[in-house]
C-alpha cells in the first residue's frame, strides 16, 4: 500500500473513531446533541448527590471542591453548546458537539475516576467510591456518541480507579475486581455504540430501498403508460387506414377517373368528416358515462335529423358509469348508433325516432342495459336485410364490446334496433 493511501486510511479510521466517519455517525451526533441540556443537568445532579452522600460518611471540604470542579466543567460545556446552538448556524453543529463532548468527557472521566483519591482511605468508603465511579462510567458509556468519547470516559476509570484501590486504599483484590468491572463496562459501551450505529444504518438502508422501490414503480407505471399510448396509437392508425383513409383514396381514384360527381364527392367528404368526429368524440373525457357519449351523437346529428323532418324522442335512464367504456368501446357504440340513425335518415322515411336507454333485467345476466333506436318508418323485411353489410357490421361491433344487437323490422311497421349491453362485466 502506498503512503498516501495508508494516510487516507488512517484518516478515515480516525474520523470513524471520532464519530464523523459517515452519515450514520453524524446522525447519531445530531440526535445526541438535541438532548445536551438534560444530559448535562443529569450529570451535575449526580455530582451533587455523590458529594452529599459521601459527605454524610466522612465530611471533607475537598469533596465539595471536587463537586465544584465538575459543575464548572458542566457549566462551561453548556455555555459552549448554547453558543453553538444560537450563533454558529453556518457551521456544522456536530463539530461543536464533537469537540465539546470529547473535551468534557475526558475531564469528567478523569474527575469521576479520581473520586476515590479525594476521600479518606477507609476500605468501605473506597469500595463505595469505586462503585460510584463504575456506575457513572457505565451511564456515560451507554450514552456515548463515538468510540472517541467512550475512550475519554472509560480509559481514566480503567486505570485510575484500580490505582486508587491499590495504592491509596491498599486493597489489591478490590483493585483487580474493579479493573475487570471497568473492562466489562468498556466492552458494554462498545457493543451499545455499535448497536446504535447498526440500527441507524439499517434504517437508512430501508429508506434507500423504499426510495428505489418507488422509483422502480414510477418507471414501471411510465412504461405501462407508454405501452398504453402505443396501443392506442396503433388502434387509431388502423382505424384511419380502414376508415377515412380508404374512403378518401377510393373517392380520389373515382374523381381522377371522372366517375364521381361533385355532389357524390361532397357526400364522401362529409361522411369522412362525420367519422373523424366520431373518433374524436370517442376520445373525449366522458368518464365512462354512456349518457354523455350518446348525447354527443345527438349534438352532432340532431339538426340533420330535424332538417329531414324527423322528430327525436330522447329518453335516457340514469345509469352508473360503465367501467368497461373506454375510448375503443366508446367508438364502437358511437358507430353502431350512428349507423342506425343514418339508416333512419336514408331509408326509413320516418317522422319520428325514439332513442332510449333503459335498465333491463335479464335472467342469465346480473345487470344489463338496453339501448333502443325505434322509428315509425316504412321498415323492411328483416329476413332479407339481415344479410346486408351494414347490419352485419353493427352486429360485429356489438359483440366487440360484449353486447348483443337485435333488429326487428316489418314492412310498414317501423324498425327497432336494440343494443343490449352489460353493465359491470368488462368487454370481452
Amino acid at each position: 500500500m502506498n503512503p498516501a493511501a495508508s494516510l487516507h486510511d488512517a484518516r478515515s479510521r480516525l474520523k470513524s473513531i471520532l464519530g464523523i466517519g459517515d452519515d450514520a455517525q453524524i446522525e447519531l451526533l445530531h440526535v445526541n446533541f438535541r438532548s445536551w441540556r438534560s444530559s448535562l443537568a443529569g450529570a451535575a445532579l449526580a455530582n451533587l448527590m455523590i458529594a452529599w452522600v459521601f459527605n454524610l460518611f466522612s465530611p471533607a471540604s475537598s469533596l465539595w471542591l471536587w463537586a465544584s470542579m465538575g459543575w464548572v466543567i458542566y457549566a462551561a460545556t453548556a455555555a459552549l453548546f448554547y453558543l453553538y446552538e444560537t450563533r454558529a448556524t453556518s457551521r456544522p453543529i456536530y463539530m461543536a458537539w464533537l469537540i465539546g463532548t470529547l473535551g468534557s468527557s475526558l475531564v469528567v472521566g478523569l474527575l469521576w475516576a479520581s473520586l476515590a483519591w479525594w476521600l479518606p482511605a477507609t476500605p468501605a468508603i473506597q469500595l463505595l467510591a469505586a462503585l460510584a465511579s463504575a456506575m457513572i462510567t457505565m451511564g456515560s458509556a451507554s450514552a456515548s456518541v463515538s468510540v472517541g468519547t467512550l475512550l475519554a470516559v472509560c480509559l481514566p476509570a480503567l486505570f485510575i480507579v484500580p490505582a486508587a484501590l491499590l495504592w491509596h486504599a491498599d486493597l489489591p483484590l478490590a483493585a483487580a475486581v474493579a479493573f475487570g468491572l471497568e473492562l466489562l463496562i468498556w466492552r458494554h459501551g462498545l457493543t451499545l455504540h455499535a448497536n446504535m450505529l447498526t440500527r441507524i444504518h439499517q434504517r437508512r438502508e430501508v429508506e434507500l430501498l423504499s426510495q428505489q422501490l418507488s422509483l422502480k414503480q414510477a418507471q414501471l407505471q411510465e412504461a405501462e403508460h407508454e405501452r398504453g399510448v402505443l396501443g392506442e396509437r396503433q388502434r387509431l392508425l388502423r382505424d384511419m387506414h380502414d376508415g377515412v383513409g380508404a374512403s378518401l383514396i377510393s373517392a380520389l381514384k373515382m374523381i381522377e377517373l371522372g366517375q364521381m360527381s361533385l355532389d357524390e364527392a361532397a357526400q364522401v367528404l362529409r361522411e369522412c368528416l362525420d367519422d373523424l368526429r366520431l373518433v374524436i368524440d370517442s376520445l373525449e373525457p366522458i368518464d365512462h358515462d354512456l349518457v354523455t357519449l350518446l348525447a354527443t351523437l345527438r349534438y352532432r346529428l340532431g339538426d340533420r335529423l330535424e332538417r329531414a323532418g324527423i322528430v327525436i324522442d330522447w329518453a335516457m335512464a340514469d345509469i352508473p358509469p360503465l367501467p368497461w367504456l373506454n375510448a375503443p368501446q366508446a367508438l364502437e357504440v358511437l358507430r353502431i348508433v350512428q349507423e342506425a340513425l343514418a339508416n333512419v335518415l336514408k331509408h326509413s322515411r320516418a317522422t319520428r325516432v325514439r332513442v332510449s336507454l333503459a335498465h333491463e333485467e335479464m335472467p342469465e345476466r346480473d345487470a344489463s342495459l338496453v339501448l333502443r333506436i325505434e322509428d315509425d318508418g316504412i321498415g323492411f323485411d328483416s329476413a332479407v336485410a339481415a344479410s346486408g353489410r351494414g347490419l352485419r357490421h353493427m352486429r360485429h361491433r356489438a359483440t366487440q364490446i360484449g353486447g348483443l344487437l337485435s333488429i326487428e323490422a316489418k314492412p310498414s311497421h317501423g324498425t327497432r334496433v336494440c343494443l343490449h349491453l352489460v353493465r359491470d362485466a368488462p368487454a370481452g
Binding site: L273, L276, R277, I280, D281, E284, P285, I286, D287, D289, V291, T292, L294, A295, T296, L297, R298, Y299, G302, W314, M316
Partner: protein, 221 residues
Amino acid sequence: MKFTVAIVDDDPRYRSSLAHAVMSAPGMTLVGVADDLESGRALLDSMQPEILLVDLGLPSGSGMELIRHAAAKLPACDVMVITVFGDEQHVIASIEAGATGYLLKDASNGELADHIRALRAGGSPISPVIARQLLTRFAAPAPAVPAKDEIETDVSQALSPQEHKVLLMISKGNTHEEIAQVMGVSRQTVLTYVKRTYRKLQVHSKVEAIAKAQRAGLIAR
C-alpha cells in the same frame, strides 16, 4: 344598429368564406381580417370590434394569446373560437382564457350568422362533453371554511341551481328547447345561463391559478 365583427384566421380560403358569411349576414359589419397574432392584436386595438372570431393555431403564436388580449383590453368584446371539432380540450382552454363561444368550421353560412347573433344576444353554444366537464370542474370541493372576505367571491364562483340544471341536462343530450320547456324559460335564457357558466369558469380558473401560484410561493399572500 349593426354590431362589428373582426376575423383572425391564417387559412386564406376559410377566412374569405367566413368574411363573406359575415358580410352577407344582416345585422353585422365586418371591420377587419387578420392572419396572424401581431396584425390581429393591432386590428383589435384599432377597431375595437364587438365580436372577435379567432382561430387557435396561428403561425406566429397561439390564438389563445389573442383571446387573453381581448379579454383584458376589450371587456365589451365577445370572443368566439373557430374550431374544426369543438373538442373539449381546446374549447375549455379558450373559455378559461376568456372566450364565450365557439364556431364549428363546417357550419353553414346561415348557422354561422345565427351563432354569432346568439352570442351577441348573450347566449353561448355548448356541447354535452363540455357541459359535463364544467360540472366536474365546479364540483371540486370548496375551501372548508372560507375567510369572511372570501365568501362573496366564493358564491359568485359557484354554479346557481339553474345553471347546474342546464349543464346537467345538456350533458344528458337534451336540446336547448327541451331544457327551456322543462325550466319554463325561453331558449335564449338557457343560452345566457351557459354564457354565465363560461364567465364563471374563467374567474374560477384565474382564482385557481392564483391559489396555485401562492401555494408554490410565486406570489405573496
